[in-house]
Point group: C2
């Protein structure tokens, strides 16, 4: 039977995404790099920059979003709530330093050499982001999600996302009205806190009440579908109050990680993640425009911004006092700006605050930090933590060895 032509092209694009992701992922693994790096490169190759076969259409934006949701849902399922609670205080320290230092660094550089006022604030803000997706994926691929380092980075990335949201709200209202609306910021802060804590408490209770129903419904795949629907629903609620969808997915995973159904749900989510998660990373790769890499001025600014971005997050890891931790790995885990950094810079561009050349520089910073972190993190995490943590040297802002 005949089929609509608009379904034909996306089908072949999806085939290209899946095959290139696995081939490039395996090739990356062959040379000792994490598969996610190969998937990002696959996106550059099949994306608008080179082969121009796949781009981020509405359809693939949605599938990529589902991929990010499934990834963080899986990460939540594999996390341990009590471990994460322990990781909360150190995570808050790393997040605070990982926001303040990059912000000040980026702001100071911009105000001294590039522009004034609001532009500098946007540059600083773009440097604060942490892409939880990249780091979580690397820890997951290495089977090191249950380490304290991984949990601290996850906790820090969640704090970072919540603070980033507030920062973005402040900057957007500054760029729009020239004034900061204290009530709207207060509402955002309260909503974010209520959501992150509330979804875990309420989610766990609702699930306990839902479970007898789920077991009574005698239809195929009902447990998986309800679990997946919970992840989608919390993602949607998170997005509705202005947070990232993936925070909701992570919360849903945490809720279900505490239940008896954890093993079955984790097993059934895995094949879905196998197919959808690569879509997220390949599509992220397609956003890279390799032509911007050719302008010397853009490259120069990008190099400085990237240096600030790398050093400030590394220093944030050393904000922790506990020397038994692999603090270098924690700092590296905070480095990738990923889609979050792109969103910041993109807001600046579309609001007319950030000029296109500066946007390109910020994009290169995002790309380099995103691509540099996975191989570094892999190298740091396959060795035991003690091996990378020097026995001498205090806490504070000591630079890495």
């Amino acid at each position: 039977m005949a089929v609509e032509a608009d379904i034909l092209i996306p089908i072949f694009q999806l085939v290209a995404i899946l095959l290139s992701a696995k081939l490039a992922g395996a090739a990356a693994g062959r040379i000792g790099q994490p598969p996610v790096l190969g998937e990002l490169l696959a996106g550059i190759v099949i994306g608008p920059s080179l082969l121009n076969f796949v781009e981020r259409t509405d359809l693939f934006a949605f599938l990529a979003e589902l991929g990010a949701i499934v990834l963080l849902f899986e990460v939540g399922l594999e996390s341990d709530l009590s471990e994460l609670k322990l990781a909360g205080p150190p995570g808050a320290v790393v997040a605070a330093m990982g926001i303040v230092l990059p912000f000040l660094g980026g702001w100071a550089f911009a105000i001294l050499f590039l522009a004034d006022g609001t532009v500098a604030l946007f540059v600083g803000a773009s440097l604060t982001a942490t892409s939880i997706g990249i780091t979580a994926r690397v820890f997951s691929d290495l089977g090191r999600l249950v380490t304290r380092e991984a949990q601290i980075v996850l906790a820090a990335a969640i704090f970072d996302d919540v603070v980033g949201l507030i920062l973005l709200s402040v900057l957007v209202s500054l760029a729009g009205e020239g004034v900061v609306s204290i009530p709207s910021i207060a509402i955002t802060v309260v909503l974010a806190l209520v959501f992150v804590l509330g979804s875990i408490v309420i989610g766990a209770r609702s699930w306990r009440r839902l479970v007898p129903l789920v077991h009574r419904l005698r239809v195929r795949g009902v447990l998986l579908v309800f679990a997946f629907a919970l992840a989608l629903a919390l993602s949607g609620v998170a997005a509705a109050i202005g947070l990232a969808t993936i925070i909701g997915a992570f919360a849903a995973g945490l809720v279900l990680a505490e239940t008896e159904e954890r093993a079955r749900i984790t097993r059934d989510v895995k094949p879905i993640a196998d197919v959808l998660v690569p879509v997220f990373f390949v599509i992220m790769g397609t956003l890279v425009d390799v032509r911007t890499f050719l302008d010397p001025a853009v490259l120069g600014v990008a190099a400085v911004l990237t240096g600030i971005a790398l050093v400030t997050k590394l220093v944030a890891g050393y904000g922790l006092r506990d020397r038994r931790l692999n603090r270098l790995a924690i700092g590296v885990g905070m480095i990738p700006r990923g889609e979050v950094g792109i969103i910041f810079a993109g807001f600046g561009l579309t609001l007319g605050v950030i000029p296109p050349a500066l946007y390109s520089s910020l994009l290169i910073m995002v790309v380099v930090t995103t691509f540099a972190a996975p191989p570094l993190l892999k190298r740091l995490m396959v060795r035991p933590p003690e091996a990378t943590e020097p026995l001498t040297g205090g806490g504070g802002s000591r630079s890495p060895p």
Copy 2:
């Protein structure tokens, strides 16, 4: 972090699709009906006719298509190529009778009471369709896919689809140019035959060469992703030459069913099917417009067309001579017109051949046949074949008991 608003609504729509599908599916099961009936009804309830919360957007059209692809991929994986070869000749008989009789019935009724020429041909053609998806799902839910009856219906539905494609090409060129282009029809026929046979032969050989590579690629989920990509690729090729995507997906399943990896692939495809297949049936439900059920003239024509649609396909089942077969079940399995019937009627409408009222009648015929077949088939297939097949009465066009 902020997220695009256009992702928010589809996320909640997907939650509504998944939850309503499972709840309605379980409710249908509770009153002895197949879950797919509940899923179709869920689509009517949340669709434009009633709650108007979900409609068939480009995104959900694609996800539904993926659902149909995964469903037929799974059906192919569970099928047995040697069984299906045995089912070929009887399948061809059922398909031939199941095309000729409904076509003549619909054409005769239309030319006598409704309209002339091309309109009557479109009405006849709309009655010939068989929706392999509905029937395959019911057999699958009952665990009766490996019965001869199921394999004959599947074989017949494939023949039906290929012939339906040819018929549609003929009618579209008739409606457009007033003449039938013999060369273009010949090309279509050859392409269809080459694809269905070729994809199985070439697909099996390529997979055997691919398997050592797949096993050498040490990345997560590589076997599943390559298998899924094969299903998508063959679906795309099928669509590109004008066949239904699902024929390609079915062929991919048949190819992989003959391999050593069958068990692992089947196990990993199941959770993906759990999530995507209900999307297909709920979205099909959203296409129903309940308001058309209120016009007496539309209903009258619909009643006659539905009667012709039911009786002619039942008679087609009795075209088989082998009395050990549950021929009534085979006839019932051919009844649902599903999305294929909607496509036929829709082509007639968009070409300006079929008037809107007649389109409504055809749509009701499609809906009733699609909704009536699953409960009938379930009743017929849960009893052993002998119990429903009377010991007296010959083959040919005997009416059902």
